[in-house]
C-alpha cells in the first residue's frame, strides 16, 4: 500500500478493515459501472470503436489493479501456526481455488462455443464476456493472494528482495506483451526480445526463489498427493484457458475487442509465474516422495516424545497406579497393539492387573494361573520383542487363550531400580512390531521411572511439610512446659536454658515448691530423643506438678516420682533426674537419680558430686529408695552450682573429642562472673566454639545458680 494512501487513510481515520470494506465496495461499484458502460457503448454506436477500446483497456487496468490490491490486503497469515495446521489451511484453500477454476473453465468453454456459434456478436455475449472478466479477476486475485500467503509463511530473509524483483519483471514483461498485443504484429523484434528476456528472467527467479519447502517432506503420502493433484489441476485449467483464448483469437479476429486485452498481458505473465511456482512445489513434493515413510515415522517418534514429556509433567500429583495405567495406555497407543495388559507386582507374586485392553477377564485369569509364565515376565529385565508367539512353545498360555495374538512385546516397568510391573502388548500378525517400537517403549519406560520417582518425591515433601508443621506445634507445646518466669530469687541468681537436638526433645527443667514451700530445681533427661522422649517428658512434668507439693524433701520427691513413673513409661525408657532444693541461708539439698554429676564451686574450687541414685523408671521403689542418697551443703556467698544434662559434656568436636567437664569448671571458677545468665552465656559460646557443627546430636540443658547477698536488704 503506497504511503500516500496510508496518509489518506490516517486522515480519514479509517482503520484497516474499514479501508478493506470501502475498497471492496468501490470494486463492486466499478465492476457494475464498467458492465453498464460497456453495454451503453455497444448499443449506442459501433462507430465509437476506438473510444470503446480505449475505455475497455483503461477500465480493465483499473479493475485488475483494484482486485489484486484488495486481495493483497487480505494476504495475512499467522506464522505461529504449526506446519501440520498450515498444510491443512493451504490444502483447503487450494481445494476452493480448484473449484473456482473449474467453474471458470467450464464458463470459458461454454462461452467459446457460444461465441463460435453466434458469428455476430451481440449484447448478451458482451455481457457474458464482461462477467467472465470480473470472475477471472476474482479467481486470479485469489490465487495471487494464496501464493503471497504461501511465500510469506515460508519466507526467508531474502523473500522481500525476490518479491520486489519479480514484481518489477512482471510489470515490464506484461507491459511488453501488452504493447505487442496492441500493435498486433510480430515485427517489433526489440520489444519481443526485451519481453522475452524479462519473461525468462522472471521464470528463472520465480523458480529459484528461496523458500522453506522442507516441510513438504513432513507431509504424509495422502497430503502430498492432494497437493500435487490440486496444483496440477489448477495449472491445467489455467493453461487450457490460455489455449482457448489463443485458439479463439486465431480463428476469430472480430471478437477481439470483446476480450480483455489485459488477459493477454498481465494475466498471462502472472499465470506463467504461478505455473512456474506450482511446478517448483510439485517438483519439491516429488523429490520428497521417497522419504515420506521415514519422515512419517520420525514424526510419530517426535509426537511420542512430546506425549512422553507431557506424561511426566501431567502425572506429577497422581498415584503410582494411575501413572502406570497412563503409561500402559500410551504404550498401547504408540505401538498400535491390538491387546495389552499390565500386571503390578506387590511383595508377593501373584500380582494384580492394573490395566487391560481388549482382553477378557477370563483369559487374563487363565494366563495368570500359569505361574511359570508370569515368572518369565518378571524375569524379563529389558523390553523384549517376540516376533512370533507360535515359535516359542512356552508361550502356549497366550496362544491358547488369545488365539489371534501372533507377536508380542514384554515391557518391564520400573521406578528407579525397583521393579513395579510388566506391560504385555499383543498384535495379530507375526513380525508386526517394529524395532522403533522398542526404542520408543524404552524411552517410555525411562520416563515412567522418572514420573514415578517425581510423584513419590512430591508425596514425600508434602508429608514432610505436614510433619514439619506438626513438629512446630509440638515444639511450641513443649516450650510452654518449661518455666517462663525468671528463676532468680533474692538470694540466688538462677538461669537456665535448653536446646533440643531435634524440634522437640527429652530434656526438662523446672522450678517447683515442696510442701514446706522450699523452692526446688529439677533437671531431667529422658532416655532417647525426639518425639518419644518428648512425650515421656510431658508425662514427667505432670507427675512433678502433682507430687512436689506433697513432698517433704527433694529425696522424697524423687522417690514419689519413681513410684509414679516406674512401669508407666515403658521398660526401655528411663529418666535421669537431679533435684536441688535451696534455702535463703545458703543451705542446699540435692539428689541425683542416675543423672550427670552436680558441680558445686565453693571458694573457687569445684567439686563433682555423684551421690548414689538410680535412674527413674529403672526399678521399683524398694531398690530405688534404698539406693538414693541426699547431700546437704551450706553455700557461701558467690559459691555456685551447675546442673547439666549429658548433652553438654558429650558435645564432640571434629576429632571426636568430648567437651567434658574441665571447660565448665574453668568457667565456674572464673571469679568475675557474678550472674547466672553470664555463666550460661559463657557455656554456650564455649560449646559453640568447640563443637564440630551447629547441629548437636543430643538435647542440651543447663541450670546455673549463684548464691549471693540478698540484694533487696
Amino acid at each position: 500500500m503506497p504511503s500516500v494512501l496510508k496518509d489518506i487513510i490516517s486522515k480519514l481515520k479509517l482503520n484497516y478493515s474499514s479501508y478493506r470494506i470501502v475498497t471492496l465496495f468501490a470494486i463492486v461499484l466499478f465492476s457494475f459501472a464498467k458492465i453498464a458502460l460497456d453495454i451503453t457503448f455497444f448499443s449506442i454506436n459501433e462507430n465509437f470503436f476506438l473510444t470503446f477500446n480505449l475505455w475497455h483497456y483503461i477500465s480493465e487496468i483499473v479493475l485488475f489493479a483494484s482486485f489484486v490490491s484488495y486481495q493483497f490486503t487480505l494476504a495475512r497469515i499467522n506464522r505461529n501456526l504449526e506446519h501440520n495446521q498450515i498444510s491443512i489451511i493451504f490444502n483447503k484453500r487450494l481445494k476452493g481455488l480448484l473449484f473456482h477454476f473449474a467453474i471458470y473453465w467450464t464458463f470459458s468453454v461454454l462461452l467459446g462455443i457460444i461465441s463460435d456459434l453466434t458469428r455476430d456478436p451481440d449484447l448478451s455475449i458482451l455481457l457474458l464476456y464482461d462477467i467472465k472478466l470480473v470472475y477471472s479477476m476474482i479467481v486470479i486475485g485469489n490465487l495471487c493472494r494464496f501464493i503471497i500467503d504461501w511465500i510469506l509463511y515460508f519466507r526467508t530473509p531474502s523473500t522481500k528482495k525476490y518479491l520486489t524483483f519479480i514484481a518489477i519483471h512482471i510489470v515490464i514483461a506484461s507491459s511488453g506483451l501488452f504493447v505487442i498485443e496492441m500493435l498486433n504484429t510480430s515485427s517489433y523484434d526489440t520489444i519481443n526480445l526485451i519481453t522475452g528476456l524479462f519473461t525468462i528472467v522472471l521464470v528463472i527467479s520465480v523458480f529459484s526463489m528461496p523458500r522453506k519447502n522442507s516441510w513438504i517432506a513432513s507431509l504424509s503420502y495422502k497430503k502430498k498427493l492432494l497437493l500435487i493433484f490440486y496444483m496440477l489441476m489448477i495449472s491445467f485449467f489455467m493453461m487450457s484457458d490460455l489455449t482457448l483464448e489463443i485458439l479463439n483469437m486465431s480463428y476469430d479476429r472480430d471478437i477481439l475487442y470483446f476480450k480483455a486485452p489485459i488477459s493477454y498481458s498481465v494475466l498471462n505473465i502472472i499465470s506463467l509465474s504461478i505455473l512456474v511456482f506450482f511446478l517448483r512445489i510439485i517438483l519439491s513434493t516429488l523429490a520428497a516422495w521417497p522419504t515420506t515413510k521415514i519422515v512419517a515415522k520420525k514424526n510419530i517418534e517426535l509426537e511420542s516424545l512430546s506425549t512422553l514429556n507431557r506424561f511426566v509433567v501431567e502425572t506429577l500429583n497422581k498415584s503410582p497406579e494411575k501413572i502406570i495405567i497412563t503409561a500402559s495406555q500410551i504404550a498401547r497407543q504408540m505401538t498400535n497393539a491390538h491387546s495389552a495388559w499390565t500386571e503390578i507386582y506387590s511383595k508377593e507374586l501373584p500380582k494384580q492387573i492394573a490395566y487391560s485392553f481388549n482382553i477378557s477377564q477370563k483369559n487374563l485369569t487363565y494366563i495368570q494361573n500359569y505361574t511359570h509364565f508370569t515368572k518369565h515376565f518378571f524375569n524379563c529385565q529389558d523390553t523384549t520383542l517376540i516376533d512370533s508367539i507360535a515359535d516359542n512353545d512356552y508361550l502356549y498360555p497366550i496362544s491358547d487363550t488369545i488365539t489371534y495374538a501372533k507377536s508380542m512385546i514384554i515391557l518391564p516397568l520400573y521406578s528407579g531400580l525397583e521393579r513395579l510391573g510388566t506391560c504385555i502388548l499383543l498384535k495379530d500378525t507375526e513380525y508386526a512390531f517394529e524395532s522403533e517400537d522398542i526404542s520408543i517403549l524404552n524411552t517410555l519406560s525411562q520416563n515412567l521411572s522418572i514420573a514415578l520417582q517425581n510423584a513419590s518425591l512430591i508425596q514425600d515433601s508434602i508429608q514432610k511439610e505436614k510433619y514439619k508443621s506438626e513438629m512446630l506445634l509440638a515444639q511450641n507445646i513443649q516450650r510452654n512446659l518449661l518455666p517462663k518466669e525468671d528463676l532468680t530469687t533474692n538470694e540466688f541468681s538462677i538461669s537456665a536454658f535448653t536446646e533440643p537436638a531435634q524440634e522437640v526433645g527429652g530434656d526438662y527443667y523446672d522450678l517447683v515448691y515442696l510442701s514446706d514451700n522450699t523452692p526446688c530445681l529439677l533437671i531431667a533427661d529422658v532416655s532417647g530423643k525426639g518425639i518419644s522422649a518428648a512425650i515421656i517428658m510431658s508425662q514427667m512434668k505432670g507427675a512433678v506438678q502433682a507430687i512436689s507439693p506433697l513432698s517433704d524433701s527433694v529425696a522424697d520427691l524423687m522417690k514419689k516420682l519413681n513410684k509414679t513413673l516406674f512401669g508407666t513409661i515403658g521398660r526401655k525408657n528411663f529418666i535421669t533426674v537431679a533435684g536441688l532444693s535451696f534455702k535463703p541461708d545458703g543451705t542446699i539439698n540435692f539428689v541425683r537419680a542416675g543423672h550427670s554429676p552436680i558441680l558445686v564451686t565453693s571458694d573457687g574450687k569445684t567439686k563433682k558430686y555423684m551421690p548414689k541414685g538410680l535412674g527413674i523408671g529403672l526399678t521399683g521403689s524398694s531398690l530405688f529408695d534404698k539406693n538414693l542418697d541426699e547431700v546437704e551443703l551450706k553455700l557461701n556467698f558467690n559459691d555456685n552450682v551447675l546442673l547439666i544434662t549429658d548433652g553438654i559434656n558429650e558435645v564432640s568436636n571434629e576429632k571426636n573429642q568430648q567437651f567434658g567437664y574441665n571447660q565448665l569448671i574453668e568457667i565456674l571458677e572464673f571469679k568475675n562472673l557474678n550472674s547466672a545468665i553470664e555463666i550460661n552465656k559463657q557455656i554456650k559460646s564455649k560449646i559453640e566454639a568447640f563443637s564440630a557443627d551447629d547441629a548437636h546430636i543430643d538435647d542440651m540443658t543447663v541450670i546455673s545458680l549463684i548464691y549471693r547477698k540478698n540484694t533487696n536488704v
Binding site: D525, G528, K572, F574, T576, G594, H595, M610, L614, I697
Partner: protein, 126 residues
C-alpha cells in the same frame, strides 16, 4: 559424634550360655540390632545371656534401655543378663545410672560364666 553405623554383634555359645560380643557404638540407631539378638535367644529358650563389652566404645541411653527391656522377663525365667569386660568410659555410663545395683557387672567373662554355672549347680542341689 559417635559413628552410629559402626556396630557389630558376634554371638557364641558356651556351656548353655549365649555370649554376645559387642563392638563399636550402641545407640538409638543400633540398639534394635541388639534387641533382636536378645529376642532370638529368648525365643530359643535361652535365658542365660552374657554380654561382653570389651570392644564397645560408646553406649547411649537408648542402648542402656535394651538391657532394661529384657532383664525382667529373663529373670522371671530364672535367667540373667550378665555384663562383662567394660571399658572405663562405658562403665561410667552404667555407673552414673546406678546399673551396678541392677545388673551383675563382672570384670571378665570367666567370673560371669562361673556365676552362671554355680547358680546352675545351686539350682540342681536344691
Amino acid at each position: 559424634m559417635p559413628a552410629s553405623n559402626k556396630f557389630g554383634i558376634t554371638k557364641k555359645q558356651a556351656n548353655g550360655i549365649d555370649c554376645f560380643y559387642l563392638e563399636g557404638y550402641l545407640d538409638a540407631h543400633t540398639a534394635p540390632q541388639l534387641e533382636s539378638a536378645f529376642q532370638e535367644s529368648i525365643d530359643a529358650g535361652n535365658y542365660k545371656i552374657l554380654v561382653n563389652f570389651r570392644d564397645l566404645d560408646y553406649i547411649s541411653s537408648a542402648g542402656l534401655g535394651v538391657f532394661m527391656a529384657f532383664i525382667e522377663d529373663i529373670r522371671n525365667e530364672n535367667g540373667d543378663i550378665k555384663l562383662t569386660s567394660m571399658q572405663d568410659k562405658v562403665f561410667s555410663v552404667f555407673d552414673l545410672l546406678g546399673f551396678p545395683m541392677l545388673f551383675d557387672i563382672e570384670v571378665n567373662e570367666i567370673n560371669a560364666i562361673e556365676k552362671f554355672l554355680s547358680k546352675n549347680s545351686n539350682d540342681l542341689s536344691k
